[in-house]
Amino acid sequence: MTAIDVEDVSRIYQKYSARHRFQTFKSSIVKGDIFKALKPDELVTALDKVSFKVKEGTTFGIIGENGSGKSTLLKIVAGIAKPTSGRVTVRGKVSALIELGAGFHPEITGRENVYINGIMLGLSKKEIHRKFDEIVKFAELEKFIDAPVKTYSSGMYMRLGFSIAINVNPDILLIDEVLAVGDASFVPKCLDRIDDFRRRKKTILFVSHDLSTVEKVCDQVIWLKEGKIQAVGEPKRVIDAYLQDIVEKQEEDFEERQRTIDREKEQEWQEERRENRWGKREIEIAKVRLRGLDGKEKHVFSPDEGMIIEMDVKSSSRIQDFVFGIGIFNSQGICCYGTNTKLEDFEPISIEGEAKAVCRIEALNLINGTYYLDVAIHKRDGYPYDYHRKLYSFLISSLHQDEGIVRPKHSWDFSPQIKMKTSKKRMSDP
């Protein structure tokens, strides 16, 4: 049985230009264009012909970047917003957790707010009366329920809101990123409740940026991009495709940023370059490129990936004493790794003319963040020919949230007495 059927839904937002925004009743009457003022002059497509079906009893995830139309879609399913075209059929009682405690009145007590909010969400007075204790208990607000809501902390506010919404006992639950604000003990409790819902074969539509939770909880995932469905299906596959897309976008952003720096801040950049570059350049490092192991030039890497640092060097005369060195620094300036050809027992013999030196790193094994690269050519005693200090940067981007500096390749093993389950399969991925 289909619980939610979204057919060809488009939503076009009407954007009023600045001129219209400050249009006033007076001026519109004076100008005689009162009806024109009520018409928008620019349209923004938030959803573009979106269709999908959610089977009863499944948990359906929606992922996508900010502004991709996720919340709009959820609001349309909830009936709060109307689709511009298309049709949404929803079978069963819907409860939407779009903003918790949206209808609370600050001046009256928690108790009164529970009743009013419950009625707004579609419960009858009798039902609320019956569930009241459970609601308060779940929210852990027994002591404060008779205090005005304005005295609540934001956590208490959220807990009460969640507790009411979840106790509406809907057939279909819509959740929009509301768990992001809870504290460490309340969020698992909410997730438990959601799990409980799944066990009771209720339908859940789940919007979140927390991809690991989405992968854990959802049976199916759709990925929205700029209002269009980019992919539907099995969570892992869709999430991987989405992550791939994010990395590509980061790469583009990175290059774009480099370009703007090159163009706009040429002067500044040159100065900085001068400051961060020293040596008489008997041997000059003319260009440095970063590549993936496949040889493609890139700047965003995953922790498990390798990197190739390629230096184009130029030597005006024949020189016999030289060392190539590299150093990787994180954004705090801590040296994560440094090495040179001398330390690795290469004996220089000679260099002349244009040449290429390549350092191949099989796996970076670094945590998330921005990194800076030092490259240098110097004599064995340390006299620099050409030293580039932090002139190049790259990005490590991954889902992992580990800490420290390096991310050694690792895995966990437990003897049978220890029982654990994990949803984060990707943690142990090579």
Binding site: F25, E107, Y115, M120, S124
Partner: protein, 269 residues
């Protein structure tokens, strides 16, 4: 549109609890609490008696030169006027104040102006005992015509609903209606026979003023109150009947405009 209207009936429990919330929240934190609902009209009554009764003194023969009678007459009009004007002013803002509800919860927005009319109606109801208390004190007596009072209240209720639907939905798009409204209501107050009776000689002598006042629906509503309570005579059925029809027309126009603009509320409030 009619389907939506039917829905309002379904939401009556919500309206009821929102009205009681509004009333509870209004005097939360005050020492006198709910007593303010009585004190406000009482204080107003005292001020009007002093200013219009004793300082300006009534000139119309209907008051027999008595400042007490004039104060009572004033009160008959001011009380329902306060109901009308405060519900209008409140509803001009109500969609913006409760924007959160409209944006985040499946919630029929028309409930909000209805709640502001209803909660002010309750306040008006609390003022009535004060009015009735002063009728015998100031030397008038009750007549059976008092029983017509609910009819006048119903006409004003429907008229107010229509007006607030119009005001609340348009204010979403034109924010300055709120400021225009405040001035307009002051004008409207003096353009209705509240501080003066319609039989006042200046009005009766000028044809323009007579026609103007008769075109104002508030004139007939106010006269309804004055006839029931102060003069103790029958309502002017024809005039009140026309006003009732007009109130219904305003209600449907107001509601259909509200209904038309409804979809733009979540984005604009």
């Amino acid at each position: 549109m009619f389907k939506n209207l039917k829905q309002i009936y379904k939401y009556r429990v919500l309206i009821q609890s929102l009205v009681s919330r509004e009333l509870k929240a209004r005097y939360r934190g005050t020492v006198l609490g709910f007593m303010w609902s009585f004190f406000n009209p009482l204080l107003l009554m005292i001020v009007y008696t002093i200013v219009f009764g004793f300082i300006i003194r009534p000139r119309d023969p209907a008051f027999e030169g008595s400042p007490w009678l004039y104060a009572l007459f004033l009160f008959c009009g001011v009380l329902p006027w306060v109901w009308f004007s405060s519900s209008s002013l409140e509803s001009a803002n109500v969609l913006m104040i409760h924007g959160n509800l409209i944006k985040k919860i499946l919630f029929p927005a028309e409930i909000l102006p209805i709640v502001s009319v209803c909660s002010n109606l309750i306040h008006f109801m609390f003022g009535l005992p004060i009015l009735f208390l002063f009728v015998p004190i100031f030397g008038k007596s009750f007549t059976p015509y008092l029983l017509y009072l609910p009819l006048v209240i119903i006409v004003q209720f429907i008229f107010s609903l229509g007006f607030t639907f119009l005001i609340s939905s348009l204010t979403v798009h034109f924010r300055d209606i709120k400021d225009i409204l405040a001035n307009f209501l002051t004008f409207w107050f003096f353009a209705s026979p509240i501080v003066y009776p319609i039989t006042f000689s200046t009005i009766q002598q000028s044809k323009f003023l007579r026609i103007f006042l008769n075109l104002n629906p508030m004139t007939h509503i106010m006269q309804g109150y004055q006839n029931c309570v102060f003069f103790g005579r029958a309502l002017h059925w024809k005039k009140l009947g026309v006003t009732f029809v007009l109130a219904l027309v305003l209600f449907f126009i107001g509601y259909s405009i509200f209904d038309r603009l409804r979809d733009s509320f979540p984005e604009e409030v």
